[in-house]
Amino acid sequence: MSTTPIYGLMAEFDGPTELVHAAKAAYDAGYRKMDTYTPYPVEEAAEAIGVHHNRVALITLIGAMLGMIGGYMLQFWVSAVDYPVNVGGKPFHSWPAFIPVTFECAVLGASIASVLGMLIMNGLPQPYHPVFNLPRFAGASRDKFFLCIEAQDPKFRLSETRKFLEGFHPDDISEVPN
């Protein structure tokens, strides 16, 4: 594990444009272990730090398939195998009647998988994170935009990185204690 005393360097910006500009430049300069923190989703910021794909859609699809298959198999097994009841001479495996519940189960499986998958991949709930050690970070859920270059990045040198960030004229640069 890292023995660095700090988590990273946090630069605070006033608007999304400045943040995205700095994030792009940092990525071009070779920094990789970094993140931006914004009060609302800024798509360009994610692009700038090289986040292009995620696996939420795949997990949602898997959830939908499991729900669909599970829902259908449940109805098939109940109605045709374990508890066959003759209703108006219909076949026990009367599949058109099973479609509504299959559909609902697919939607249910997909939704639960999507939400749980998103939370788990995001590592939430997370009781502690170093960025909250910074009092100014409260602005990240209000009206400020942050770029944090983490100390774990191989290119990270405290003084050089600070100088690099200063080039973008942020409102503030702070060391984030670990």
């Binding site: 939420v56 939607v107 991949m121 995001n122």
Partner: protein, 458 residues
Amino acid sequence: MQGPDQLPPKGIRPPIIGPGQTFGTLTDRITGIVLTKHTPIFWFAIVGFALMLFGMLNTAVGYLLMKGTGIWGINIPVGWGFAIVNFVWWIGIGHAGTLISAILLLFKQSWRTSINRFAEAMTIFAVMQAGLFPLIHTGRPWLAVYWLFPYPNSMGVWPQFRSPLIWDVFAVSTYFTVSFLFWGIGLIPDFATLRDSAKSLMVRRIYGLFAMGWRGSARHWHRYETTYMLLAGLATPLVLSVHSVVSLDFAVSVVPGWHTTFFPPYFVAGAIYSGFAMVLLLAIPFRYLYGMQDFITLRHLQNAAKVMLATGMIVAYAYALEMFLGWYSHDKYELAMVHNRLHGPYAPYYFMLILCNIIIPQSLWLNKVRSTPWMLFLVAVVVNAGMWLERFVIVVMSLQRDFLPSSWGMYWFTKWDVMILVGTMGFFTLLFFLFIRFMPAISITEMRTLLPQAKVKE
């Protein structure tokens, strides 16, 4: 509190967000309702009154559980009565919430942003009221578990999956779960805002718990946005399926007046109609009491009125089609059904329904009505009453006179029926005002994206 609504000059539509807002002012205004130390007096008055009605609901349901459903007016031939009327009415009301939060999101209708949060809350609370009715209608809800849900019980008995009533159980419970998840993940970043804005440690900790450590990381937002869009995409067919399945409870039977194929679209249109009426019923007092005219502008009210007008016309078409199909079927029972609507003992209900759902809402063609909150409020009350009457007409009038005149009968509801209906309105109001007081009633995160400064400039 803001001044009265100013109509912009002719030809210009009112903005979807008042002028001069910044990220900071917007955050303060919305969190202010929750974090204030001075809860307004009207809040206590409304919640107090709602608690009284909630108490009445508990009394009536308690008595029902002791005595059985005989205290209601239901009997043979009308075995469904108020319980199913109210169930369909409440679940229909919920539909507008999902329409606003999911379908309008997919169509990139940015005006939905300031009303989606409380419309979603409305959905969840309305579905809760709706779910209550089939449960207590079973008379013994503690036994209903094995009637409704497939679980391996010791009797080896399973539900009947060919019945729309079981489809309904799945549709409504899925609908509730998905609506709750959608609402819940929308709230996470806003809880983080409340956590960071709160002054007291206790409040910070409580909202911090619900925020789950949200910090607005770009990687988190990226996955979050994907999930949000996917849930919207999933909720869209879901909401259409729920009221379609509810309508199949009727349409799959052979009862005259119910046995038609156009019930699903007819029910979905009616659901959205009543749901938007309920959105207006909640939004107009909310924006007035909390001075939110900058966030819920005349534009929102006008748009909601237009949706009501459009769905109201579909509903009017459906009423005409009901009559037409009765005549076109050339089936004497269907013809008798049409005759019964116009001349039977419940004809006044039918003509009231036409007045409330078709005639009075035509006033929405006038820009003056669409732009005057109190007039819209009155129309919304009338439409909600009309939609309740519609379900009454469908449920009661078809059952009371079906095939054999010897088995015809009348349905008289009792005071317990009325107490439970009014009680659920109280319960709904109670939940809604608790929500307004303790959760951000407008999505702060999404409102920020509406500001011009939220865009990244090249």
